[in-house]
Symmetry: C2
Subunit: 286 residues, 2 copies
């Protein structure tokens, strides 16, 4: 099976499970949640959960469940990030942002609903494993909370009105994007019954490479290619490109990717997909 | 021990545990979270968790942990409800609302952070009991999500632009306030290792009585007495008073309270505090 066939195998399962999880009601909040959750996207985080779990021969049913939860959290963070009081973006994944369609109040609730649904899903969906499920809750929400992703969003707001230093950019990315990528590795390890930090080195470098690629794409691509507003410069965002320059950002991207690759080298053949995933994220054009 | 001494014993423990849970960092998001979480309030939901657990002789350490989590969720819902795109309130618990102090973006993140912290707290704080903890997550987040409290908030938005019927008001209250009160009873039962719906009748009627009292206070008290804006009429909110009139609302309040009282009659002496709690909520003036 090629990398891209395997990737599609994962995302087909993820998309089907997400649809099942969110299409439980036709109330407006569920429709608003589904609008963003089922809008496509690369599903990078759940793919990492499943690939890490599979590399260790773990329980793929649990990995799929945890993968859905992390995608719900990622999606809620996008909805809230796009709100007028935050980045005020109108385009996301090639479509109008949630609040452009449902209004600000309902978009706020859809975001809250998806964050909440992540906890409902881990505790409520099949298969059940109390010990692993509660560890999954701890690792997912530990990374997505005020110490992790939410803290990174706050740093990001801070950076808009302060000088963007390299230290600040590294800190923001370590938390704003990095924390959920690390959580994905931890969830895969938990699903496999391994130590949660088994994939730590891999996900730290992969997360950084992923964000640097994002920053590069934001300046080199059109909104049409990206499917979202490339608003970083407009919003005076602190990015790798703005503090390091485009050439150094590209070098750093290659270095972080190389480090991610070598981190899963010891897994041999079982780490093949994880290595191809790092390559894919380095080269992606949206 | 009198009712009020017992109530204080519970709230002292709750306030100390909440302070410990949120004062783990001096970053702005934690400060914004603490600002609202430690602003006082009656702590009704965690008190119900603890009292229900104690009535069944359950694990009070778990009850305190679950009680903190439900208060975090209650507080996040207030922060988001107060935002300009929702009720646009400037006063809460006698102080400026979160966004008046920290700005809209940071208040949004503080709310997200508290919702997230509820899951972190159940999965991360002592004491641990994987089986009960994951059940607690399921019952808390099942009630606070789009099927429950968040769904009620969406109904509330809908009601502002539609005719307020009695059915709509009952539906809103059943979910917007009722769901978390029912969750409190479920968490108390889970902490005690009982069936989650053990206190179902009690909390259904208590929740309704609680909300009717709120609606009556909103028209009969000043903002100063309430410590929050009495903005229901301004916002064209559908309330018990607006659809039933003040006299019928008061009769209904007494009936719901009587039903709550009789629901815990079989507990005998062990249900004494729960009965006094229903009386207290009926007579409270803020």
């Amino acid at each position: 099976m090629t990398f891209s066939e395997k990737y599609s195998e994962y995302t087909d399962k993820i998309n089907a499970a997400l649809e099942k999880a969110v299409k439980t009601s036709d109330e407006i909040t569920y429709r608003a949640m589904a609008y963003s959750l089922l809008a496509g996207g690369k599903r990078v985080r759940p793919v990492i959960v499943m690939a890490c779990c599979e590399a260790l021969g773990g329980d793929m049913g649990l990995a799929l469940k945890y993968g859905c939860a992390i995608e719900m959290i990622h999606t809620y963070s996008l909805i809230h990030d796009d709100l007028p009081c935050m980045d005020n973006d109108s385009l996301r994944r090639g479509r109008p942002t949630n609040h452009m369609v449902y209004g600000e109040a309902q978009a706020l609730l859809a975001g809250d609903g998806l964050l909440n649904l992540a906890a409902e899903h881990i505790s409520g969906a099949e298969p059940h494993n109390a010990e692993k499920d509660i560890r999954a809750v701890a690792h997912l929400f530990g990374n997505s909370g005020a110490m992790g992703m939410i803290g990174g969003q706050a740093d990001d707001i801070f950076a808009e009105t302060h000088e963007a230093t390299r230290e600040l950019v590294e800190k923001i990315h370590h938390r704003k994007t990095g924390a959920l990528i690390r959580a994905a590795g931890e969830l895969g390890a938990v699903a496999a019954g391994a130590e949660a930090d088994f994939f730590r080195d891999y996900t730290v470098h992969l997360g950084l490479a992923f964000q640097i690629r994002d920053d590069i794409l934001d300046v080199e691509s059109s909104a049409e290619q990206l499917g979202k507003s490339n608003s970083d410069a407009d919003n005076n965002k602190a990015t790798f490109v703005s503090v390091y320059g485009i050439d150094e950002a590209k070098l750093r991207l290659e270095r972080e990717t190389a480090l991610a690759l070598s981190a899963v080298e010891p897994l041999g053949e079982k780490g093949a997909f994880l290595r191809e995933l790092a390559d894919y994220l380095l080269k992606r054009d949206k």
